[in-house]
Subunit: 274 residues, 2 copies
C-alpha cells in the first residue's frame, strides 16, 4: 500500500470557548429532559443551523431547570473555518431572546469548559419585601419577613473554607466525595433584594440553593450561626435549611487557571470583578 | 307617602387607592384589547372574585401593550366592608405572578387616580452593550452602538420645561392640546443600561418612547442637541426620532397634590425618592 492510497487526514478541529447568558425560566436546564428543551440542545441546534455540523457543547455548570446564567462557559469543537466573530453574530441572530452568546473565541485544543474549570461564582436573589415583585418574579425568591443580614453573614463565615458539605447536597450516595472549598460567601442588600454570592472550587447537587435556604432560616431566626458547625458535622441533609426555588439562582462566572486570588477570605465581589 | 315607604339608602361606597407593579410583557396594556387581556380587566376580575362586586378600576396612566409599571396608581369604589389589609392580601393571592398590588388603602371619595394626578415619572431602559442581554430582554431595548451620555443630557436640557410637544406624539389631531411641562429628564448609566427618566405634568400618546428614541439618535450622533429647539418648533412627528419599543418603558410613580418640588430643574431621582 503506497502513501497515495491513504485518505488525507481531515484538518485538525478548532476548539471554541463561549460565554453564555440565559433566562432559564422556559428551559429544562442546561441539559435537555423528557419534557423540556435544554440550553445545550438549543446551542447545538443553532451551531448545526449555521455550520451544518453536529457538535457537543460542553458546559462548565449543568444548571437545573429554571436556573439562570450571566456567565456560563461552554466549549465545542468545529471543522468549519468561519471566523469566530461571524459565527458569534450568526448564533445570536438565530438564538431566541432568552439566550445569548456574550463572547466567542478560538482556544487551545486542551481547553474544556467543564474539566478545565477551577471554580465558580453563583448568586442567589431573595426579594425581601412585604409584597411580591412582578418585575423580579422570574429571577428572585420571595421572603416576606425582614432578614437579619448580620446573622446571615455570621453564618456565612462558618461555611467558608474547606468542609464536608454532605449536609448541603441532594442525593448524596455513600462513597461520594463531598468535600469542597468555599472561597467566600457574601450577603448584600441590593435594592429590594438580599443577594447571596457564593464562590468556590466546586459545588454539590443543589448546594447553593441549600446554602441560601439555610442562610434564609438564619435570617428569620429559625436557626443561628452557632448551629452551622453542627450542621456541617452532621453530614445529614435533614439538619440544613430548605432548597430554595431555582428561579433565584444564577451562575455568574466560571474560573480557569487557578484560584483568582491568594487571599483566604476574598469577597465574591472582588473575585467577580476582573 | 310616609318616610317608612322610602327604600333605605345604601351605605355610601368606600373609595380605595391601589399602587400596582406589573411586568407588562404578557398584556394588551392597561386597557383590554380585542386580542389581549388588560391589567385593568385582570384587577376587576380579582376584585369580583373576592368581593362579588363589579367595579371600575381607574388607572392613572393607560400604559400600552408591553409597558411595565413599578408604581401605577388606580382607584375604585366598593360596597363591601372588608378591611383593606385583608383585601390587599387576598388580591395578591389571586393575581398572577406578573401583577401585584404593592399598597391598598381607603381614601377620600374625592380621590380619582387619573383625574387627581398632577404628574408622573417614567423610565426608559436602553441596554447599551455590543450583545443583547437575555435577563434584560423583557425590560430594555437594545442599542449596540455606544451612546454619548453628555450629548443626550444636553438634548434633554432643551426638552425640559413648558413646550408644545406635538413633534413628540403619535396621532395628534388638529385642535388637540399638545402643550405639556417636563419637570426633568435625567440620563444615567445604570449597570449595562442607560436609563432615561422623564418627569412631567402630563404625557401625550407615545411621548416618552419618542423622547427616548430622539435622545438615542442624539446619543449615536444622528442628530444633535442643537437640533432640539427646531424639532419642538416644527410640531411635526417626522422631525423627531423613532418610537422605541414598549418593553423598555416603565411607569415609576404618579404624583398627587401639586408638583413635588418648587425648584425648576429637579432631577427625576430627587423627585422619585420621597
Amino acid at each position: 500500500m503506497s502513501a497515495a492510497d491513504l485518505e488525507p487526514l481531515p484538518p485538525p478541529p478548532r476548539n471554541l470557548r463561549m460565554v453564555i447568558e440565559y433566562d432559564g425560566t422556559a428551559y429544562a436546564g442546561w441539559e435537555k429532559q423528557k419534557n423540556g428543551v435544554g440550553i445545550q440542545q438549543l446551542l447545538q441546534g443553532a451551531i448545526r443551523q449555521i455550520t451544518g455540523e453536529d457538535t457537543s457543547v460542553n458546559g462548565a455548570g449543568r444548571t437545573d431547570a429554571g436556573v439562570h446564567a450571566l456567565g456560563q462557559v461552554a466549549s465545542f469543537t468545529l471543522q468549519k473555518r468561519m471566523p469566530a466573530v461571524d459565527l458569534h453574530r450568526a448564533l445570536n441572530a438565530v438564538l431566541p431572546d432568552d439566550v445569548a452568546v456574550l463572547a466567542l473565541e478560538d482556544v487551545s485544543l486542551y481547553f474544556h469548559a467543564r474539566f478545565s474549570a477551577t471554580g465558580k461564582i453563583y448568586r442567589y436573589l431573595i426579594l425581601n419585601e412585604p409584597v411580591r415583585a412582578p418585575l423580579l418574579a422570574r429571577t428572585s425568591h420571595h421572603v416576606r419577613s425582614p432578614l437579619d443580614l448580620d446573622a446571615m453573614r455570621a453564618a456565612a463565615r462558618e461555611l467558608e473554607g474547606r468542609h464536608d458539605f454532605a449536609a448541603f447536597a441532594r442525593d448524596v450516595e455513600p462513597g461520594d466525595e463531598t468535600v469542597r472549598t468555599i472561597w467566600a460567601i457574601d450577603v448584600e442588600r441590593e435594592g429590594r433584594c438580599v443577594a447571596i454570592y457564593v464562590a468556590g472550587d466546586g459545588f454539590l447537587y443543589n448546594m447553593v440553593r441549600i446554602i441560601a435556604g439555610t442562610l434564609a432560616h438564619v435570617g428569620v431566626g429559625k436557626i443561628s450561626s452557632a448551629d452551622m458547625p453542627g450542621v456541617l458535622a452532621s453530614q445529614k441533609r435533614s439538619s440544613s435549611g430548605p432548597t430554595l426555588p431555582a428561579r433565584g439562582l444564577a451562575l455568574l462566572r466560571v474560573f480557569y487557571g487557578g484560584r483568582p486570588s491568594a487571599r483566604p477570605k476574598d469577597s465574591c465581589r472582588e473575585i467577580a470583578t476582573p
